[in-house]
């Protein structure tokens, strides 16, 4: 018999929806402290230059300027703004190559000085008064050029600009033999897109030291505890002397897995002894914060005539930009995704991370999986075409099943590729539409599909530690105390639903406390779709323990055994005699205001570290129309079949998937990150030059949530879902374009110019 659920699975309003709908929710950009100064950053106009001398005397004399800092004023300590070295089991892969402010600029926009002043106008004027004497160095923007002998060197330690050579560590089989065994081998070189995050809240930070020297940082972090430690180490402070507050976050998508404005903001606050706020302009956000790496990949697939994949191999170059940041981890995920999606006996992956003088890259939604899977899924369609097989049939022949290893290498508790593919095929009318006449005047119709698996956290590669605390108030309501703050994904509402269901109280009874390292317990942070699965499990543990305390107390009062009690809708009752009972509030009030000395604030901790990592699955079908006269592609329909196990809140999950679908449409069609190859300046530096989709650009979107295979290790059977949601959409659109015009898109984004050029060379 199915367990009857009263909170989990319901379409309840998201956490803090009311504050957000009324404009009262506070974001970092909204924070204003008494005496707060405005911080501004002076940025290099050159892509590669040594700062010979910097004269700040005029700026310092400007009334209202409280500090001007340069290389001389910051710790001469290399760091990596990415938090992962603190939790990676192989931290040596995360190279430290950045200073808070450098004496050498490596991209147009690299920070070379910063000021703090009483207002924005004064701070901006001060920037003009700083005189920097640059020794302009030759620059390199293309990673292939950067690897040639004699190319300008971005970081002295990196010969030929190769920061790290990477090889898939557990490659299995023998690819040479695998390709010999194949009837058809397809090889293609792809260039993925340098896609920007474009979260709407501009990157910002407030930092303040109190009289005891204790630092408080307000910033939109995905990993407040790891960032706290990183900041403490950077400025030689014990962790406890740093408090990290995460207000509401105006979009994250991986960006806040790294520092943005925080180190400079803290340096200014330290120098002035006053609170300092830095808010990037949109242009600064575009060129000075992290975006996607471009992968240049030669991928190879071998298949037999019956569709069996015999070998997969990729050789890649990671076009990583001026600093290392997340190159190691994203590329690790990239390789795992490329070799791990299908059953394949022979795999290999290898390549180089390369520096250039372009703005730095980082971790973005999909985090390596997006690029790895995109290339693989396009190769699969090319192979299917070669052997004249329906690409769906080819996939069905090679997909993994429960018990097989996922792309992390851990065995999968469930696997629903077959079911999801069949549901989607039927729903979209695949066979009929695939056979449909393509031509209609200048328009060409196409339908494509792709599949993906993602993760529920980063086990077993990163330390995954989740702690929550839960306490009852005297009225029977609950404070659920969660370490890492809400970044817009409604994790807090999701956790509240899990807590309410486990405790037998209502959703409204759960009051969330989050986003403050002083009042919450350690949590490693939001990445890799781990929140619902991992923190959800910690919530179940805490709630079960608190419920036990509650029932034991109620059992005494009712003079029955606690085993015989249950809670539903705030009421504790005797299972065999449901009329007999007591409300949760009565027990919790008695537990606190107890004059017999038996007082107890009913509360519990839940600590969770995963042993599993159940992948969410997605099967995506798309229909497109390509205008062969103009090269314009229009996405007509996206059907997303998703398996995140049991869904805690369908509205929340649908919203995540719909958002990712539209992000993918931008990625494939319009989002072109253009760096001028002479000046190194970013030309696409605002929403008018870097086009993200608007409401007018969205197709017919349909999301189906497949819930027939709840995952045994998940809270109520739930697993991840949001982070990887772009992963299958992007290749499904690319494959639909391929179906429409017979050209495989190998250089993203597929702008009209590229479509026309491809048609010409067809």
């Amino acid at each position: 018999m199915k367990e009857e659920l009263s909170v989990v699975g319901k379409r309840l309003p998201r956490w803090a929806a009311g504050e957000k709908a009324t404009g009262t929710a506070k974001y970092t950009v909204d924070i204003k402290l008494p005496g707060m100064l405005v911080g501004k950053v002076l940025r290099s106009p050159y892509p590669h230059a040594r700062i010979k001398k910097i004269d700040k005397s005029k700026a310092e004399k400007l009334p209202g300027v409280e500090a001007v800092i340069t290389w001389d004023d910051v710790p001469h300590k290399l760091f990596n703004p990415n938090k992962l070295d603190l939790i990676n089991y192989h931290p040596e892969g995360e190279l430290k190559d950045m200073y808070v402010i450098s004496n050498k600029a490596r991209f147009v926009g690299d920070a070379i000085a910063a000021v703090a002043a009483v207002d924005e106008a004064t701070a901006e004027e001060a920037l003009y008064l700083i005189k920097a004497d640059y020794e302009i160095l030759p620059a390199v923007f293309d990673p292939l050029e950067a690897m040639k002998p004699g190319a300008p060197i971005v970081h002295d330690f990196a010969k030929n600009n190769i920061s790290l050579h990477m090889k898939f560590p557990v490659a299995w089989g023998n690819v040479e033999q695998g390709f010999k065994d194949a009837d058809v081998v397809v090889e293609e070189t792809f260039r993925t897109a340098k896609n920007h995050i474009c979260q709407l809240e501009p990157c910002s930070c407030v930092a303040s030291f109190d009289a005891s020297g204790r630092l408080t940082v307000w910033s939109p972090s995905q990993h407040p505890f790891l960032h706290r430690r990183k900041m403490a180490e950077l400025f030689d402070m014990p962790e406890g002397m740093v408090r990290w507050i995460t207000p509401h976050v105006g979009g994250a998508f991986g960006k806040y897995g790294s520092f943005c404005a925080e180190p400079i903001c803290v340096a200014l606050a330290k120098k002035t002894g006053k609170p300092v706020k830095i808010e990037y302009s949109r242009e600064e956000d575009f060129f000075a914060t992290e975006r996607r790496q471009r992968y240049v990949v030669t991928g190879k697939i071998g298949v037999k005539k019956d569709g069996t994949i015999t070998a997969l191999e990729e050789n890649f170059i990671v076009d990583g930009g001026a600093y290392f940041t997340h190159n190691n981890t994203t590329t690790g995920v990239h390789m795992g995704s490329f070799v791990g999606l299908y059953r394949c006996p022979n795999v290999a992956a290898e390549g180089d991370c390369v520096y250039t003088n372009e703005p730095p890259t980082g971790g973005v939604r999909g985090y390596g999986n997006h690029e790895g899977t995109c290339i693989l899924e396009q190769l699969v369609d090319l192979a299917a075409h070669k052997i004249r097989m329906d690409p769906v049939d080819l996939r069905l022949k090679n997909v993994k099943h429960a018990g097989d290893p996922s792309s992390t290498g851990l065995p999968m508790e469930t696997c629903s590729f077959e079911e999801c593919i069949r549901i989607g095929m039927e729903r979209i009318g695949w066979k009929e539409k695939r056979a449909r006449h393509k031509k209609n005047g200048n328009k060409r119709y196409g339908i494509g599909m792709a599949i993906m698996m993602d993760v529920s956290g980063a086990n077993p590669f990163n330390l995954q530690r989740r702690n929550v605390y839960l306490k009852f108030n005297e009225d029977g309501s609950v404070n659920l105390i969660v370490g890492s703050g809400e970044i817009g994904q409604n994790l807090m509402g999701t956790l509240a639903q899990i807590a309410a269901e486990t405790l037998g109280v209502t959703y409204d009874d759960i009051h969330i406390v989050t986003g403050d390292t002083d009042s919450t317990m350690f949590d490693h942070g939001h990445h890799a779709s781990g929140g619902c699965y991992q923190i959800g499990n910690a919530v179940v543990m805490a709630a079960k323990e608190a419920k036990k305390q509650l029932l034991e107390r109620a059992a005494k009062k009712l003079e029955v055994s606690s085993d015989g009690l249950e809670i539903k809708n705030r009421q504790i009752y005797v299972k065999t005699d449901p009329q007999k009972g007591v409300s949760v509030g009565e027990i919790t009030k008695d537990a606190i205001y107890n004059f017999q000395g038996e007082h107890l604030n009913i509360s519990a901790k839940g600590s969770f570290s995963p042993t599993e990592n159940p992948p969410p699955f997605a099967v995506v079908f798309t229909e497109v129309e390509v205008d062969i006269e103009t090269g314009v592609v229009r996405v007509l329909k996206v059907l997303y079949v998703n398996d995140s196990g049991k869904v805690i809140n369908p509205t929340t999950l649908e919203g995540q998937l719909e958002g990712a679908i539209v992000q993918s449409i931008g990625y494939v069609l319009t989002e072109d990150y253009i760096v001028n190859n002479k000046t190194g300046a970013l030309e696409s530096n605002n929403y008018n030059t870097y086009k993200i989709p608007s409401a007018l650009d969205i197709p017919d979107v349909e999301v189906l949530l497949y819930e027939e295979q709840p995952v045994p290790s998940g809270p109520f059977g739930a697993k991840g879902g949001a982070q990887g949601a772009m992963v299958a959409v992007t290749p499904a659109i690319a494959n639909a374009i391929y179906d429409a015009i017979g050209v495989c898109i190998t250089d993203m984004p597929a702008t009209p110019e590229k479509i026309l050029a491809a048609l010409k060379h067809k």
Binding site: R14, E19, K20, E201, H248, N686, N688, I698
Partner: protein
């Protein structure tokens, strides 16, 4: 720069502020009057986050000089609810899951208000058209359009 004391009518209330001629309405609202519900995401009128209403018509507060809207009827997100009673558009955004990070929501809701005042019975296509200048990176717009359609219905049935 020349400073002057200017009066503003915002959300039905009179405000006085010392302003310079170059200050934008967004700066006035956010920095001088602490009405931070209005958000700025691009600063150049490309994203719609800072949308407010001036005499009932939508305007981009980041690209509007404060001095130009003295004594005009300005409505921001803070003035939409009546006490604790939410406007039907706000309620519909909550009920339909139209809010994620929430940073575009203020501008989106104000734009929806202007849209529904002009066209109380829009089609989905007309809603897309009306919100075409308001960017959102989280939702993919589907649930925002759902919310505006639902709000239109509530308002036609007599909700304010």
């Amino acid at each position: 720069m020349r400073k002057e004391i200017a009066t503003f009518k915002i959300n039905g209330r009179a405000y006085e502020a010392i302003i310079t001629p170059n200050i934008t309405l967004a700066e006035l609202l956010r920095e001088k009057l602490d009405l931070t519900g209005t958000k700025c995401a691009c600063g150049v009128g490309e994203c719609g986050s800072c949308t407010i209403l001036v005499d009932g018509k939508p305007a981009l507060s980041c690209s509007t000089l404060a001095i130009a809207v003295r004594n005009r009827d300005i409505l921001t997100i803070e003035g939409l609810a009546r006490g604790t009673e939410l406007h039907p558009i706000q309620q519909a955004f909550i009920d339909n899951g139209a809010i994620q990070c929430g940073f575009c929501s203020s501008g989106m809701i104000m734009m929806a208000k202007a849209l529904l005042a002009e066209n109380p019975q829009p089609t989905r296509e007309e809603v897309k058209e009306g919100l075409g200048g308001n960017l959102c990176r989280c939702t993919g717009y589907v649930k925002i359009i759902d919310a505006v359609m639902a709000a239109a219905e509530t308002m036609r049935k007599g909700g304010k």
